[in-house]
Structure formats: C-alpha cells, structure tokens
C-alpha cells in the first residue's frame, strides 16, 4: 500500500514537471499554431537563470593564503565572494544558499524578455509559414541557444542545490497513520509540486478571469473576427509568448535542485513535452495538464520491479505506448479541439 502511495507521489511529482512544460508549449503550439522546437531550450534557459544567479552571487575576489598550497605546490588562492564583503559572512552565505528561490524573481523578467524578443524578432514572421519552416527555424534556434550555453557553462551538469532548509524529507507515514519512515518524500519535490500547481492555476485564472485572457481566448478561437473587431491581437499574442517562455523558465529554475542542469536538458524534455501536449489534445490547456499528470503517474508505476518482472522493458516504452493507445481511441487526444493542427 505504502509503495503505491509513494509511486502516486512520484507520478504527481514527475507529472507536475511535464504539465508545467507542456502548459507553456501548448500556449504557443496549441493556440498560436506555432510548432516551437525551441520550447525545451526555454526550459533549459530557465534552469541556467538559476545557475547564473548562483554564479553571480558567488562572484569572488582572490585572496592568497600562504599557509596552504595547491596541487602544483604554489601558494593557494582562496576565493572570497563579494556578497560576503557586502552582507557579512553569515548573511552572505545565506543569500548564496537561497540562490534557487531567488532565481525565480531573476528569471521571470529575463524569460519574458527572451520570449518577447523571440516572438517579435523571429516567430512573428512564421505564423503564416508552413509548419515545416517553423520546425526548421525553431530547431535551429534551439541548437544555437544550447550551444551558447555550452560555450559558457560547459557540457557537464552543474550542481545547483536547494537551500539547506529544504534538504530532507517529509514523513507522510507519521501523518497518515503508517509506520514512521515508511512514506517519506523530499521537501523540495513537494515544493515543486505545489509550485507547479500554483503556476498552472495562475495561468488558468489569467486566461479565464481577465479581459485580456478573454480576448486571447477569443483570438485563439477565431483570430480573424477578433482582428475585425479592431483589437490588436498580435500584441496580445506577443505577451502570451512571453508568458509561455516565463512558465517554461520557471519550470526550469525550480527543477535545478532535483536534477543538476546541463545544456542538453531541454532536448531531453522536448520530445516528451510534445507527446504530452498531443496526448492532451491540441488547443486544450486542461488537456495538457491532465496528460502531464497521467503520463507521470503511468511512468512511475511502470518502473516498479513487480511490473518489470511481468513485462521486461515496459519502463522504456510505456509513455509512447500510452500515447498510441490514447490517440487511437480518442482521435484528438484527451481534450483536443477539432481542426487544430490536424492538417
């Protein structure tokens, strides 16, 4: 029983990452109709916002320590971060420790800016081009963004730990009446789940309850009519693109303590996020979120050794298998709208 509860938690946790990435993708892909292969790169850029901030905070000046030597026998130089000089050693250390949560504030404006620049400078010109051209240009962009990050940060994963206050696990077992210690879950992963839930809710609320959101939704449904009404839908779509970039970026920032980011992480998620969006159904935000959680939970269960004993290798393919089954039984995914990206 507790094993199953744990796998459900795992599934929700994985699913929240999938859902968050897919949400941003479907805002662009399912609503603006742009096949954005650079979406994974946006996720990766978000993660590197956290890395960059943590590096910025650790910017140091060198102090030579004559009492110790380095590996070649020369006097050792010790780096002292500037924040230590400004805030004192303990406060400075605390600020560095909190780099990842602080990076949320740092990433939002940067990611919105990147999204807006991307849309205005590039994607805008491709709304009316064939999907094939969109794939080529966004794939090219994704490679360029990746290589730029690789040039500055290298290819190796960069450990970006959560604040030490969040290291450790929450004991569900004790709360739910099981044996203490039987169901524990890391704090940061729980935070990730709640963070994802809040971001998803905020995006929905924004589209559902604001005039801006209403216009955008109208524009998605019938762009021409909205334009005829004298509304500048283009400007709103630009903002939507910035929003989608910010959502992807935040997913990346918060993901860094879970897995050390590297320049390639966007590509690892790209295919999966497309599968999630399509299984959810084109043009449906709730569909993307639902599919994200569904695939997360299924993936979690498929990795149990009890399952693998019956079906060896099922963990390798389960997501794709489920995608095929869903698409064959429900022609437009779970909640897709008719006519979106069907030709």
């Amino acid at each position: 029983m507790d094993a199953i509860i744990l796998q459900i938690l795992n599934g929700l946790d994985k699913g929240s990452a999938y859902a968050l990435i897919a949400l941003g993708l479907t805002l662009i892909f399912g609503t603006l109709g742009v096949v954005n292969f650079a979406h994974g790169a946006l996720f990766m850029l978000g993660a590197f916002c956290a890395v960059t901030l943590s590096r910025l905070l650790q910017l140091s000046h060198e102090v030579v320590d004559d009492t110790r030597t380095d590996f070649l026998g020369n006097p050792l130089t010790v780096d002292v971060p500037y924040v230590y000089d400004i805030f004192g050693e303990s406060a400075g250390a605390a600020i560095i420790d909190w780099a990842v949560p602080l990076a949320i504030l740092f990433a939002i404006p940067i990611m919105i800016l990147i999204g807006v620049v991307m849309e205005r400078g590039l994607i805008k010109h491709f709304y009316k081009r064939p999907h094939a051209d969109q794939i080529l240009v966004t794939f090219g962009l994704a490679i360029v963004l990746q290589e730029v990050i690789k040039y500055f940060y290298g290819a190796n994963p960069i450990p970006t730990p959560a604040p030490s206050a969040f290291v450790g696990s929450f004991d569900f077992g004790a709360v739910l009446g099981f044996d203490p210690g039987s169901i524990v879950y890391p704090y940061w992963r729980l935070i990730y789940f709640f963070f994802a839930a809040i971001v998803i809710a905020a995006v929905f609320a924004f589209l559902q309850f604001t005039t801006f959101g209403m216009v955008v939704r109208a524009g998605m449904a019938d762009r021409e009519t909205v334009t005829l009404l004298g509304i500048d839908i283009d400007k709103r779509f630009t903002i939507m693109f910035g929003l989608a970039a910010a959502v992807a970026g935040l997913a990346g920032v918060m993901y860094t303590p879970i897995n050390s980011p590297n320049y390639h992480m966007g590509m690892d998620f790209l295919v999966l996020s497309f599968v999630v969006v399509v299984v959810g159904g084109m043009g449906s935000l709730p569909g993307a979120v639902l599919a994200g959680f569904l695939l997360g939970i299924i993936e979690a269960f498929a990795s149990m050794s009890e399952v693998l004993e019956i079906l060896p290798g099922i963990n390798q393919i389960v997501i794709y298998l489920v995608a095929i089954i869903v698409l064959l039984t429900r022609p437009r995914g779970l909640m897709g709208r008719k006519g979106v990206m069907e030709d």
């Binding site: 794939f139 090219g140 590509m267 497309f274 399509v278 393919i317 095929i324 064959l328 022609p331």
Partner: protein, 428 residues
Amino acid sequence: MTDQVTNASGAPIPAAQTRRDARDRVLGLGKKDFGLFLLVIALTMLAPFILNPFPEGSALSQFNAGYPDLMQRFVIFGIFAIGFNILFGLTGYLSFGHAAFLGVGSYAGIWAMKLLTLNVIPSIVTSIVVAGLFAAIVGFISLRRSGIYFSILTLAFAMMSFALAYSVLTPITGGETGMQLQYFDPRILDGPLEPGTTPRANLFGLEMAASYQLEVGAWLFTFNAGYYIAAIVMLIAFYLAIRIFRSPFGMMLRAIKSNQQRMNYTGLNSKPYTLAAFIISGMYAGLAGGLLVAMDTQVGAERMFWTASGEVVLMTILGGAGTLIGPVLGAGFIKYFENIVSKINESTLEAWFAFLPGGLSDAAVAVVYPFVGKGWHLTLGLLFMAVVIFLPGGLVQGGSKLATVFRRDRNAGPVEGAAAEKRQAAED
C-alpha cells in the same frame, strides 16, 4: 515542371497538356526532368573530383569531402531524404519516426550478412523488404490520424523501436555496442571464413572498401567501389522518385495534400494512396539502411533515436520539401557539416591564419574557433535559421535564384525553383 504540377486549387492539370508533353520524352521523363536527371548523374559520377577541389596538404584540403565514407553518406542519406520527401513533399504527412525504418532495415541487412552471405544484394533486398513490412504496420496504424497526431504516432513507434533495440532486444540488436560481423558467423551461402579473418561486404567479389586512387599533380582523387554502387542505387531511386512525382499516383498524393476533404467527398478513398506512399517511403529508408550496412558493416541503435528522425525532416525542409533535388542537397549539407566542420580544430585554424601577424592571427582564431570543431552544431543551427529566413523554398530556391542571375531570360525559372515556389503558394 509547372505543367505537371497541380494547379492552385489542387485539381490535376487537363489531360491535353500532359499529352502535348509526351512528345519529347526520354526514359519516360519530360525534357526538364531529364535534364535534371542528367545533371544528377553527372554530379554523382564526378563526385570524387567535385568534392576534392583542393590540393592535398594545402591549408584548404580540410574542406575536401571526396573520401569514400562521406561520399557514401551523401548518397545514402540522399536516398533516405528522397524517400522521406515522397511522403512529406507529396502528401504533406510529416512523419517524425522515419529513422525507425532506416534502423530496422539496417538490422535486417546485417543479419542477412551474418546468416546468408557477405554479398550486398541479398542483404539490401532483405533490408528493403523488412523495412517495407514494418512501414506497412506503422503506416496502417498511424495513418488513422492526420496532422500533428500522425506525427506523434510515428514518433512514438520510432522511440519504442530505439528504446527496445538499445535495451531488452540486445540479444538481436547488440544494444549499446551494436552489431558487427564476425568471422565465425554462420553465413550458410558463403561457407565459413578462415578463422581470424575480417569479413568484408562485397558484390560478387568486388569489395565495398576497394578503392582506386588517382594522383594528378597535387590533387588526389579516390574512386571507391562502394561509393559507385551506392551512387548507382541512388540514381535508380532518384529516377523512380521522378516517375512517382510525375505519375497519376503522384498527382493523387498532391491532391490529398491540398485538400483531403474534397478528395473524400468525390468518393475517393485516400487512405490506400497515403499508405502506399508511406510504405514506399519506408522502403526507401530501408534501402538507405541496407546500404549503410553494406558500406560500413555495423549497426548502432542511435540510428533510430528521434534526433535521427528529426535530421531527415531537417534535410528535406532545408533542401526544399516537395522538390526533387532539394532533399538530396539538404542531406549533403547536413552531412558535410557533421563530418567536415566538426574536424576543424584549433591547430588547423592556427595553420590557416598563420599568414597574419601574431596578435591578429590569434584574434582570428579566437573569433572563428567557437564556430568550428566542437562548435559545429552552432554553425549548423545558425545556417538552419538563415536558410529558412532568407530562402523560404530551401536551398533549391537559393540555387534557382543564383541561376536566374546568370540567365539571359530571367523570367524562365528553372525546373526546381518553380516547384519550390509552388510549394510556398500551396501551403500559404
């Protein structure tokens, strides 16, 4: 070939026009098509010269691509892209899992070499047949959906193939370390090899690796048996592709692309046509996979990873989807970068810029270095963007623009340019 392409509304051109065209046909090809075919023949046959323009040992010889492996890859991936274009360029169905057919074809090919004979013909035939069967299954299921749903279905099949080949199917695929030939493989048609010898793919005794080298002054040209065999196969594949493009069947496929609904309303069932196109294109991929094995006797599972499927999509779009020669150009472009630009290292650059004074030479190296060697991906990404921004019809359009500059009659667009522009018009 404006006359054979469907008109803007997607309906076939009246038969009278086609008949008028039939007068000057060679090999069943129209005049312009035949010209294009001759051009491709000339390019492939003279490739060892064309691709090795720089003298051996000169600083620019780094850009020479006229060695067997890369020439083979050019034509093999050309075949792969031609086949992909039959599906994507004609019907508009964007398969994102075509590498699976290439991979399955490769595995079939190497098993034929292990079990039957080192002769490449049975192996290639096996590749085509097995890939065709696999494509029939995948196509039958995936073609129940269209648009992005179709793309994701094909992607899912390819990713499952990759994942299984890399892990649980290791006994028959070799998994991570791939499949190679061994001298102790059974090979029932050949009889056993002498212990310890290296098995080599051959065509009735002519080994694929056999080469003849010609030295002219400072230049060195390599004529490789395997390359010419692959090139001839590509020419056949290219010829068949032209015939498919110009056939009533091809016209039907174009009609499906421009308006499937209308097709269905006229009482025509489009599914058999798209399925046929899918299988043909899967067999092309299988042929490419079989040739890869014939030229370089090993298979690795990464051949089926989604990036490999993505690569053929990029090749086709980059060259010009829906054009005949475009995908081949796109394939050559990408493979050239992968194999040539990635090999330029810091010391090569230092040699190039050695003529500059010290500081300037270092600066030049520092500026260029991020774009070559380990940075070759960056250059490729920038070029993808540049091509799609400035040449919406792909490389073919670039070629036709260039040709128009040198042409007296600037209004007469060349064969492929017209198709590229048509494609633009049709998809807008």
